[in-house]
Amino acid sequence: MSAVVDSHAHDHGHHGPAKGFTRWLYTTNHKDIGSMYLWFSFIMFLVGGSMALVIRAELFEPGMQIVDPNFFNQMTTMHGLIMVFGAVMPAFVGLANWLIPIMVGAPDMALPRMNNWSFWILPFAFGLLLSTLFMEGGAPNFGWTFYAPLSTTYAPPSVTFFILAVHMMGISSIMGAINVIATILNMRAPGMTLMKMPLFVWTWLITAFLLIAVMPVLAGAVTMMLMDIHFGTAFFDAAGGGDPVLFQHIFWFFGHPEVYIMILPAFGVASQIIPTFSRKPLFGYPSMVYATASIAILSFIVWAHHMFTVGLPLAAQLFFMYATMLIAVPTGVKVFNWVATMFRGSLTFETPMLFAIAFVILFTIGGFSGLMLSIAPVDFQYHDTYFVVAHFHYVLVPGAIFSIFAAAYYWLPKWTGYMYDELLGKAHFWLSFIGLNLTFFPMHFVGLAGMPRRIPDYALQFADFNQIASMGAFLFGTTQLLFLFIVIKCIRGGKKASAQVWEGADGLEWTLPSPAPYHTFSEPPTVK
């Protein structure tokens, strides 16, 4: 990679950020917007996490203690929605904003004003969603999968606000995705061919296409709900000639790609971090790209594996089972490549690497339970039990969330100009790691033993493991405040970070000074 044009000089001129709140309100700067996304997502993570702790507190013992069943359902629903749409997705968009331009040598995102708008929709969308908690009849209580007719005919009145909020989130995501694609396809520095792009950029390019493909489907689903509720249609109402199963097909046609939207950028993050701390280039770069693309394409033909119990015809059942099993192949390739990258490297274990290694191990465990779930006849026993809750938390928490933590520690020195406190970082890692496994591992057991999900009270034989899970959850939850402390501490000062930051780091972003100036790559670097 060639040297960077020093854009630092601009910084002291009149191109710097405006002062005060308007800087954030009007900003079109990808770094400001990236930071706002990340802060927003962290706040949502704490809000959604507190709801999870309400759930876990109620489930600490058999019997109803703290909340009533209807409020419990509101908590699971809001927790799921907030974590998926408010914590994970915005965090990755924040990382995309910060990193894609400085990884491909672009001065900013391709559509900066739209970028501002896609962020600022979010606080309103989630403000609206959270306000439903205070409405008459309460917040949505039909699960984050909002199956009709529980979410239409039988829903609380606040469902209309929920629909509007989902529309707003969808618009925000689609605009974000358009921006990512436009930036990657048009704004790469000379010499940065597609097959030279860092994997984080690749995974985001593919994710963005997924987003554009499926967010409109989600919008369609909620619009049909709106019509059923207020305008007398009967898409999902059996009494009117509609079909509740239709809702599930539409939802999961969105929903399955959605889970890859939450994990592909995480793959990208791991593929940046593991080579750095292995001091060895990523093994099998092209196969990583192809594997990501195959996963994305396959994700469109597996949706009904969430619907094995709805009574699909045998042929459909077999098709979706085989297609789902097939996804294990490219996913396996990715895991093997990460391990091969570490093999015969020269490893060190700074906090980002710890999170990345835990990501590979625990995500793989989630992948194993996913493979088990794909076997349709056995899924009859797993479906809608805590085994599924364990599965998707293994792929989402140590998967998506750990990769976000890894990314935060990895690039924080570049963002703030200071090293974070390594000791505290490691403490954050180990406490999270222990808390997470205590929380979610026992859920496999109670799930297999027959505990359904989304229940506020359970039979006595599930008591012991639930108690462990609840204790683990409180450990995991409180540990996240430590992360907040570490980040604030790092912003306020610390050991100065060099431009390179990490010995083994490679890529355009590491050619910029730390902290990265407000405007970077105003003139494109040349990539050999």
Binding site: S278, P281, G311, F368, L371, Q381, Q467
Partner: protein, 373 residues
Amino acid sequence: MLSRRHLMALALPCLTAPTSVLADWEVNMTPGVTDVSQAVFDLHMIIFWICVVIGVVVFGVMFYSIFAHRKSKGAVPAQFHESTTVEVIWTIIPFAILIGMAIPATGTLIKMYDTSDADIEILITGYQWKWKYEYLNEKVSFFSNMSTTQEQIYNFDEKGEHYLLEVDEPVVIPVGKKVKFLVTAADVIHSWWVPALAVKRDAIPGTVNESWTRVNEPGIYRGQCAELCGKDHAFMPVVVKAVSENEYQEWVLAKQELARQEFELNNKEWTMEELMARGEQVYQRACVACHQANGLGLPPAFPALKDSPVALGPMEGHIDMILNGVKGTSMQAFADQLSEVDIAAVTTYERNAWGNNVGDMATPKMVAERKGQ
């Protein structure tokens, strides 16, 4: 404090212990009591062990690198970063393993889908929050409600052994016979699940799903609704009682006789006291989940009946409300769920309980007339 049991259970290796030990710790799926559930369990264990083996290999290599190739030990990084051969190998091997998995899975699935030649057919309907069982040929039909008390749930009484997994009337089937389940729902989606039978079928309004079982051992098998269906989703258990063929036949006859007696009750002359007593029972069984024992409901979702304009208003309107429900809400039509006496009784009860004292009483005859309307 963690008890020893907790610590034992936490230890990962116990996952790999023999299954007989596992059963005590409730960490694994039940092999169940049918050939199909056994086949499902076997598939589950095969895929589990395959995952364990792959995990040991992959994590083995990884941990080896973590220990052997650390910079602090002076490891010098190799620079290899590509090998098509290796990539092809680790694409093909998993693919082959998956084909090996898919074959037995397909066989089991085909068996589970074969609902032909059933000896008994039971129509199962999910309601918010109870199950209705109708034996299509025997003309037996009844509702099955959870029998765990609110006092147990709200921690006033000690919880019983089968807390949340007990019902007032289990569904009875004979062992050794092929029983076909036709599963549907009256309001929202539910899911009828009994782990020991490996049967889980969604109960969907407007659709009738099919499944079947042939139980090998007599016994009581407990399960729960598996699809979120609203407030009391946790409180609609399924209990299956598998009995010998003879016992089953006796049970059917007794049920038919009971139905005749119930029907006779419609013609009996009832006193206010009798109706109030019966009404309270009916209310506890069929209405309490929504309208609450104190008649105050859970507004705005479920209205109070104390001081309700319907309960205090004209008798006809009140009976009609209970007979026909309100379409598009969880207030169901009880016309087909409760007998005429029961509707008369619960109507009377609602008009005269919790300080509602209209003072009048409904009769089975009035209910029959309103039904005719």
